[in-house]
């Protein structure tokens, strides 16, 4: 049984994460509203498509009229990190709760995975996930309502800037993840790691120019994986 004090600690952490996510959710709602989404559109997308970066990317690609196949591939690749999290988010105490596992698996997020203790009881993990899930839905829907309160002349005069925060969030998250990967690789010197990542970015830019931004994702991602694999990135660490 989990001690009561531990439970309180995890709940406080979940609430802190929920508060931190709130402005980002609000921003998503505002940007979605400026793209003519209703509060019910955003409610359903946040409930059934729960994935902050995935939703931002969907919004961005959809507004640029990318094909559904491109959006599917990109968001799938973006969210592929949930596979190992979902594999690892259960313990032996969870057997026999198949339906609950199916439903609560959908609530797994980077933040909940970082907070919930793996060996804790199922209800506590569900509570952590539910707090974050609820905060995200509430903040995105409130964002739509907030967006409706912004005067339309402000919107028309600033329409060229409205999607930039969504782009900035994705770029910052990407930069953080790349930085994390660089810092956690002790196989090469820093200069070699930076050269390698710069080489990958150069390859990606070249592909983008050659094939265009609608279809560059698949060759871009496969090519970068190939470069990293060729230079044996991470090989020593995972041997």
């Amino acid at each position: 049984m989990q001690p009561e004090s531990d439970k309180d600690t995890y709940m406080v952490q979940a609430m802190a994460v929920a508060i931190g996510l709130f402005p980002i959710g609000l921003l998503f709602g505002i940007v979605a509203q400026q793209n003519h989404w209703t509060w019910s559109d955003v409610l359903f997308l946040s409930m059934f498509g729960f994935s902050a970066s995935g939703q931002f990317f969907y919004l961005k690609l959809e507004s640029e009229q990318a094909s559904l196949a491109s959006i599917f591939f990109v968001v799938l690749m973006l969210n592929i990190r949930y596979v190992p999290m979902s594999l690892a988010a259960w313990n032996s105490l969870d057997s026999g709760k198949r339906l609950l596992r199916i439903v609560s698996a959908h609530f797994i997020s980077d933040e909940s995975f970082a907070i919930e203790p793996k060996m804790s009881h199922f209800p506590m993990r569900i509570q952590v996930r539910a707090i974050i899930f609820a905060a995200w839905i509430l903040s995105t829907v409130l964002g739509v309502i907030t967006g409706q309160l912004i005067p339309s002349e402000w919107i028309s005069s600033s329409s060229q800037y409205l999607l930039f925060p969504a782009t900035a969030i994705l770029a910052i998250l990407a930069a953080k993840r790349i930085d994390h990967a660089i810092n956690h690789n002790d196989q090469f010197r820093m200069s070699k790691k930076l050269m390698l990542i710069s080489g990958c970015a150069s390859f990606s830019i070249s592909v983008l120019y050659v094939v265009g931004k609608d279809i560059f994702w698949i060759p871009g991602i496969i090519g970068v994986i190939g470069i990293l694999y060729f230079f044996r990135w991470g090989e020593a660490q995972h041997d």
Partner: protein, 95 residues
């Protein structure tokens, strides 16, 4: 919009629900996950930059410079600073 809900739900089922049923009976090599993650994020950063730079090259370059300087700090501060840079440069720099 409905296709967006369906698409993201389908992806959630693929990456979260199905693995949760599999549990720990299969093991994806950690190195494969790491390489995919880096590749996705490198391409994402490049895509984000060029999607903005294709419209406003100088303003996007300035805003992304702010991102590269500040990204280790607080997420909201970095979003705010980079957006402010983008807006102010678009407003005051007429290149």
């Amino acid at each position: 919009m409905i296709e967006g809900v369906g698409l993201l739900l389908l992806i959630s089922i693929i990456v979260r629900v199905i693995p949760s049923l599999v549990g720990t009976s299969i093991r994806i090599p950690q190195r494969a996950i790491d390489l995919i993650s880096i590749a996705v994020f490198v391409n994402m950063f490049v895509y984000c930059f060029f999607s903005e730079a294709s419209k406003e090259a100088v303003h996007a370059a300035l805003a992304f410079a702010v991102i590269l300087i500040l990204f280790r700090w607080n997420l909201l501060v970095t979003i705010f600073a980079s957006t402010l840079t983008f807006v102010l440069s678009a407003h005051f720099l007429h290149l």
